[in-house]
């Protein structure tokens, strides 16, 4: 079920009402059923894949806790391999086969393997990582193994963050399912503010920008450098608003019921370097990689060269996590390389104007690298980059898909984006509670956001980008 769909607008109040009407001991069951319904709106059969992950890690964690150190380690490795195997089959199998066939073809080996005709289960990478985080924390002794199968299932399946995070840690969430939450004004108000802001970012900003970005990337060879440049900038905001919008809705939907999920974004485009950017972008994933890959690899404890290598490895894996395509790997590696260089050169921007310059440089660099993230292939990415740097002129005619995208509409989208850039920080601070405004001003602010949803929203047309991961 999409957050930006009519189904969710019916589902959400029903779940909230049932949650507070039911006695505490039945709430977990209701939330679990609701989460199954939410997930099964996509491809119902894939719930069994999710169930397999849940069962494996549930059993493994109990065994880890009960076993000696050596056996616990075996259970941990077994759990990691089996969970990753599911991910490998559904997300990476065809990628490996395609590459194998490519290499076979290159060396003249007349043998090709068939790819599988399977759809990637929605949010597979997210719940796989959340599940892995649980077994690792149990192994490390930071979390007790959960004996209640239903509660553990709910930890993996909790509907607000099931398909696109935040990727939670068991210490933060599991205990909350045992706590009795009562309906209170602060949670409802903060949760609803968060949902409205998230919807605005997704439906008004991201999906409006997507209307321009998608056809430009699709017809990169048939549009001018100006269109391409606008599309590159638009995509930077599209992906930010799409993904942080999703996180806001997820955090808000959970907050209404009294649950606290971790923050996933902290105004990343205000960063003055790529290191800072990654401490503010998709925080739950960055910290996951830090805790479960970077530190076990040695982190920064083994000298400068090894630190650089560790960073590079982590970012390459992070790229691969995002998608089974070399464009994602290149995107991840480029970020890794940039971060390594930034650390080695000890780049610091101090003073107002230098910081502004640093922010601009970071935004330009991040936006440039998003080209590899957004493009379907290297050819498409190259076409976009080449079009911009060679100042590609507008060919004789625009493909007909651009007919509704006349100059006025593009100007309108730029204006919407400018308004967003101006209000992003203030509204984010208001919804986070770090900025206080009068109650009347708050009413008008959220009323204006709601009105924008009605007037400019692109309802139910565009999936959340991160669903594909």
């Amino acid at each position: 079920m999409l957050f930006n769909s009519i189904e969710f607008f019916l589902f959400f109040p029903i779940v909230i009402a049932l949650y507070f009407l039911l006695p505490h001991q039945w709430r977990w069951l209701m939330l679990l059923i609701a989460s199954c319904v939410f997930y099964m709106f996509f491809v119902p059969a894939y719930i069994f894949i999710l169930l397999a992950t849940i069962v494996v890690d549930y059993v493994a964690a109990i065994q880890i806790e009960k076993s000696s150190k050596t056996n616990a380690r075996r259970w941990l490795i077994g759990s990691i391999i089996s969970t990753c195997l599911i991910l490998a089959v559904f997300k990476y199998f065809n990628f490996f086969i395609d590459n194998f066939n490519g290499i076979a073809n290159l060396i003249g080996w007349n043998y090709s393997l068939n790819t599988l005709s399977i759809l990637l289960p929605i949010g597979l990478s997210f719940h796989t990582f959340q599940s892995l985080s649980y077994v690792v924390e149990v192994y490390r002794g930071n979390q007790r193994a959960e004996r209640h199968f239903g509660i553990y299932s709910l930890y993996v399946m909790f509907y607000p963050q099931l398909v696109a995070g935040p990727i939670e840690r068991p210490q933060n969430v599991l205990h909350q399912f045992y706590e009795k939450h009562s309906l209170n004004y602060l949670d409802v108000s903060k949760g609803m503010q968060r949902i409205v802001w998230g919807m605005f970012k997704k439906v008004v900003i991201a999906d409006n920008l997507a209307q321009f970005v998608s056809p430009v990337y699709e017809h990169a060879g048939a549009v001018s450098w100006m269109y391409l440049s606008i599309a590159v900038v638009f995509f930077s905001f599209q992906i930010y608003c799409d993904f942080s919008g999703y996180s806001d809705i997820a955090i808000g939907a959970a907050r209404v019921m009294g649950f606290r999920l971790m923050e996933n974004f902290k105004l990343p485009y205000r960063s003055t370097g790529v290191g800072m950017f990654w401490s503010k972008w998709h925080i739950s994933l960055s910290t996951w990689f830090r805790d479960y890959v970077y530190i076990p690899l040695g982190g920064n404890r083994r000298g400068a060269a090894r630190t650089s290598l560790n960073l590079f490895i982590v970012f390459a894996i992070s790229g691969f996590w995002h998608g089974a395509n070399w464009t994602f790997v290149v995107w991840g590696m480029a970020h890794g390389l940039w971060l390594v260089l930034e650390n080695r050169m000890n780049v610091r921007w101090e003073g107002k104007w230098k910081m502004l310059f640093g922010t601009l440089i970071t935004f330009v660099g991040v936006s440039f690298l998003w080209i590899f993230f957004r493009a379907q292939s290297f050819e498409q990415a190259t076409q976009v980059i080449k079009g911009i740097v060679t100042f590609q002129a507008q060919p004789g005619f625009l493909p007909s898909v651009f007919v509704p995208l006349n100059g006025a509409v593009i100007v309108g989208k730029i204006l919407l984006l400018l308004v967003f850039v101006l209000i992003d920080r203030k509204v984010t601070e208001v919804v986070l509670g770090t900025r206080t405004i009068g109650s009347n001003r708050k009413v008008w602010l959220f009323a204006a956001l709601l009105a924008c949803l009605a007037l400019f929203g692109q309802w139910g047309k565009v999936d959340f980008i991160y669903f594909q991961f």
Partner: protein, 309 residues
């Protein structure tokens, strides 16, 4: 709980007030040479384009026609009443931009039911993929009566249809905007220009919107129950556009439906005799040279004559 309800109501009322104010401004204030709404929401205008010109022609008299065309821009640019008139067939072209079966059905019920016994339904594959935003918004704003506009909204209870209705109601002084300079008469627009190059769409995949097939079936069944005669037509498309794969996928879904409904389908999508780049204005529309050729081809078709004459 009381506090939650009270504050929610406050926010909703304030949102409604802001919405109404913006709709009013969008409907009545111009920026440069167009309604402000057009900068933010494509197609959100009051009165304009071929739709308005066609509706004016249609409602200015109660003439009965030998045949009426329904469909998308493919239709209103593809069937020239002047050419049919030369063969003694009076034709009205009620095609509108991206018109789908839902819109066609409302036009039929509100304005066309008593105006002809024969309906030519132009079939253009992409219309069976689209959500119908463009079509519905333009029709909602240009049908002459609020009742018809509301009937269109009822076909599609979506935010954008409500916005279009709101703009329609909020316009103090409806203005003619963006007239279609290609408009000739009886709904027809003459497309000029020549297609010089085509970006082949070999990889295009037909992605059916099942709602549109359901709506199409509903419309046809209603016309059939009213005793109307129906013929389905598709005009040729540029051979170099590489649409075979796409159209074949459409046909795989469409053919069983029309067989079940017992309809004639004159499908000239792949017809190439005489049709080169000079007969097309763009990848999906013929120019006048193409229209001349196609309309005569159609009138010589036995299926057409069987239904129309």
């Amino acid at each position: 709980m009381k506090l939650i309800i009270r504050n929610s109501l406050k926010v909703l009322l304030a949102a409604l007030a802001i919405y109404a104010a913006v709709i009013f401004i969008f409907s009545n204030v111009q920026l440069i040479d167009r309604r402000m709404s057009l900068f933010f929401v494509p197609n959100l205008q009051r009165n304009g384009g071929q739709e308005l010109q066609m509706m004016r022609d249609l409602t200015s008299s109660q003439t009965k026609y030998d045949a009426i065309v329904l469909g998308s821009s493919h239709a209103y640019r593809g069937y020239d009443p002047r050419i049919f008139e030369q063969s003694g067939i009076s034709l009205f072209n009620a095609g509108t931009s991206a018109q789908n079966a839902k819109g066609s059905l409302v036009l039929y019920n509100e304005y066309l039911r008593n105006r002809s016994d024969v309906f030519l339904l132009d079939i253009y594959d992409p219309v069976f993929e689209l959500e119908g935003t463009e079509s519905n918004m333009r029709l909602i704003q240009n049908v002459p009566t609020n009742e018809a506009a509301f009937a269109l909204v009822q076909q599609e209870w979506k935010m954008y249809t409500l916005n279009a209705l709101a703009v329609r109601i909020a316009s103090i002084k409806p203005m003619d905007e963006a007239p279609n300079n290609d408009y000739v008469k009886n709904g027809f627009c003459e497309k000029k220009g020549i297609l010089y190059a085509v970006e082949p769409l070999n990889d295009s995949v037909f992605d059916a919107n099942e709602e549109m097939f359901v709506a199409f079936e509903k419309m046809v069944k209603q016309m059939q129950s009213d005793g109307k005669r129906i013929v389905l037509c598709s005009h040729p498309l540029p051979p170099s556009a590489g649409l075979h794969n796409y159209h074949d996928k459409f046909l795989a879904r469409f053919t069983p439906l029309i067989q079940r409904l017992g309809l004639h389908y004159i499908d000239l999508t792949y017809y190439t005799d005489g049709f080169g780049v000079n007969e097309f204005a763009d990848i999906s529309h013929m120019n006048q040279q193409g229209v001349e050729l196609y309309n005569r081809l159609l009138m010589n078709s036995p299926s057409f004559n069987e239904v129309v004459k």
